[in-house]
Symmetry: C3
């Protein structure tokens, strides 16, 4: 059981009042029970405190806590950062019984580190190595030769493919697929796609050929750094020869697609349904909002931020803030759509001006003979 | 076995002819066998009746059925509604053997309602409560403390997370993930995203800081009303503190992403690959066509309809029909692209006009001395 | 173990030098070990040969191989095609032990062809028929009545629905869902979507009605031709009455959504996160790049190529190269955005011109009295 004091310590924050008040969990102010701590880190949440029954709250720096009828308060200056510490303290985590569930099928050559909790129907292949402290939920499959670092949390039905290498403190949400085969096919003769992508062709294609696709197998693997999290049902394809790579500290949301050979740097965020096509290189600290798409074989520089649904179709320089399809500077995109919406007025002005000029010209020519 | 009469009753529709004709299933007119009922609810499907071998058909109101060589006919005025009743009558449903498969791992504290059918390799956690009549297919995982109402149909490999609460008649297609963790991270200092989203910053960012992300855990759950259906491989994240919520009667298609804290109203349709970012609130009867994206922390009013791939980036008033990226009124979007395609003509007209005016001006100044 | 000679034969390519050199695998030139063959099919990769330790390489036609310090070389004229043969030769494939794993639950009426390898926790339903040589990885579920041809490779956690019919040499990546229910619902009275789609309504809706959705069940199945591959976590819905169909040789990447009743032709490529809405027909050899969306009930002709994130909202004629939202000819789209970015200059020119004309007109009227 937490108290106001233990929570304040976890948040590295200052507390006042009855520090030994027991706290069972956190809640929004208006719905908080007497055993919960109310989350009111901004003055706008203060009115809720009167509605709820909380005896303690986390408040903004400088709040007059006694005025809200509280018995104790914790003060934070950066609410979201406080939420990180607070939510970690109260998260019970998924229940995976210690030890290996008897139904799990684990190859005798696999090495599982000390303290592992492995759930029902897990399948672990030949030569797999998993570090200490792993928590692996039901129905996870880890294929031959995969290596995973310490303190992994791998949730239900995740698949980790053969020879994939993953660092420490890895988190995979349910249904993530790491190490599916790349999507790489070739026709006997040049295909229409190759033709329109030829820079000399200017988007023109030649004669249409009826050809079938031959598969290029994926011999490469996936390499993932420390402190990476992969969202539910996201897919990361293996590389063709070298490995697809995801750098330390990078986080992927749900339903994200990362194509073969892609290189993603460190501390990036790829939000829900982002897609990165094959062989593209993404720098460090890049943030791609939901549904962003990145074309294949391009380069996205460090610290790029792309707004929701941006489609990045050519190299993006470091630090650029992008929006739109095709991606352009966010401010240019906003301006572009303002301009597009001014077009009806523009058309009207131009029509009026043509009329005026036409009359002027006519008058000019009528006057001419007089000249 | 159905007959023309039982089908007519199921559709609450009028029938004529040989009402005891046995019917095994439904088919399109041209490919229907003699034991099938042909679906020809619109005159445009009538020619197919001559090609197929059906002895009975479902026809539009007022059709002259004997002229098509049929022995019986059912008449409907709203074909799609008839399809609902008809398809329900003929759907054999998935085969899940009654009772609990011996391989299922069910915590002894779980309460499973009467008449449940639970397939192989299902895992049900501590304290789970499932209402009567549940059909749970192979390899479903339901984590600790989840509660599901009566008559649930939960298909293969679905995951339902800890403490998720779901109403009656729930349907989940294969691979749906309900209750994955939210995607919520924070940096020690203000991040570039926070900077560009600051309304005072006008999209400008400050100096770039090299920071790593700290995880905000998801303490909230997911709450789902009655009569909800979730499509294959869709993902619904848990809330941070309060629950992510989906209202009664709302249906989600495949590969849909619903972020943490999102509130979706009643009787909505979210089509394939729709994404809704965190903390957004969506009203009742909202229809989002395929690949629509909705930004975080905004509000979409009741009865909004958004066409395919619309990207809703700011609050949308009730009843609005939207299209485009960024989303604007559908009619405005159609007009905008008409205008964009008129631009080459506009440029030409402007160039011509400048020429004319330049000549006029020149002439004017030439004439001036004469004046 | 391969040698330079066996690889050359696999590629149907010419080799020179020490043909019996043993080769363990392939690598990029700079990182190749002495037992690997370096992939340097283009002169731009030549510098890497000096950095790596490879004794053999695959080079472009005409390369002076001895100059790179190699002991043997293979020459190819179409590198990507060579990669297909080479990667097939070196792919060890997934390890699935021969025979049926004792934990698999296979209905006694199912017929599994000779030489099958079936992994742990696989569930195969009543009356399923699978051709010879099948490799089925852990936790795959194949529902009642499904039929799959020879030499299938079905990876972890794939679901194949009831009565689905699939040809020979089928490949399904982890988590693919084939035969989920279609997303088809109807309201008792006309809905707002039906209203705005009525061509006579011009996008206008009538009075808003508060209606709930009734489900149209999916009685149809999915039919898939020979040599089809489906990517990780992709979803293909069953048809309403007839089958959803995917033609011979067509390949789907990860997280692709194919709606009910869709017909896709032969030798198509649907890249990551493509979505095709219900009842749409797609021709042969169509290539849809990542995140392309195709509206429901339309027709996409043979050999259409759509660039990344194109949203095809109306019929597309055969051979058309498309881009944008809404989809237009690729060259028109590129031109449109050039024009949009010229708008600020246009506005400036128009403003200036109005000024000039206004002065001219004023002068004209000032001069008039003199006339």
């Amino acid at each position: 059981m937490q108290t106001v004091e233990t929570i304040a310590k976890a948040l590295n924050a200052r507390a006042e009042g009855k520090l030994d008040l027991p706290i069972s969990s956190a809640a929004e102010p208006a719905s908080a029970r007497a055993d919960q701590i109310a989350l009111a880190m901004d003055p706008k949440y203060a009115p809720g405190l009167a509605q709820g029954a909380a005896r303690a709250a986390i408040l903004w720096e400088g709040a007059e806590w006694q005025g809200y009828g509280l018995e104790a308060a914790i003060f934070v200056s950066r609410p979201r950062l406080a939420m990180a510490g607070l939510s970690r303290a109260f998260d019970p985590g998924p229940e995976i019984a210690p030890g290996v569930h008897p139904s799990a099928v684990i190859d005798p050559t696999a090495e599982i580190g000390a303290g592992a909790a492995i759930g029902p129907f897990v399948v672990i292949g030949r030569g797999v190595k998993i570090g200490p402290g792993a928590r692996i939920a039901a129905q996870v499959t880890i294929a031959e030769g995969a290596r995973i670092g310490a303190e992994a949390l791998i949730l239900q039905s995740v698949h980790i493919g053969a020879r994939v290498v993953i660092g420490d403190r890895f988190i995979a949400q349910p249904g993530a697929r790491i190490g599916s085969d790349g999507f790489s096919f070739v026709t006997p003769e040049k295909s229409g796609i190759e033709e329109i992508r030829d820079p000399h062709a200017l988007g023109q294609r030649g004669a249409i050929r009826e050809q079938a696709w031959t598969r290029i197998h994926s011999l490469g693997t996936v390499e993932i750094g420390d402190d990476v999290e992969i969202g539910a049902n996201s897919c990361i394809d293996r590389g063709t020869v070298r490995a697809t790579a995801i750098g330390r500290g990078t986080k992927l949301d749900n339903l994200v697609h990362v194509g073969h050979n892609v290189q993603i740097g460190e501390d990036c965020l790829l939000c829900g349904q982002v897609g990165v096509a094959g062989s593209t290189k993404i720098g460090n600290r890049v943030v791609l909002a939901g549904q962003v798409g990145v074309s294949d074989n391009i380069f996205v520089g460090d610290d790029v931020i792309a707004g929701g649904a941006t489609k990045i179709m050519s190299n993006a320089p470091a630090g650029r803030v992008l929006l739109g399809y095709p991606a352009i500077k966010m401010e240019t995109h906003v301006e572009a759509w303002k301009n597009i919406r001014r077009l009806p007025r523009l058309f009207a002005q131009l029509a009026e001006l043509r009329e005026t000029v036409s009359k002027l010209a006519q008058k000019g020519s009528t006057e001419q003979p007089k000249g």
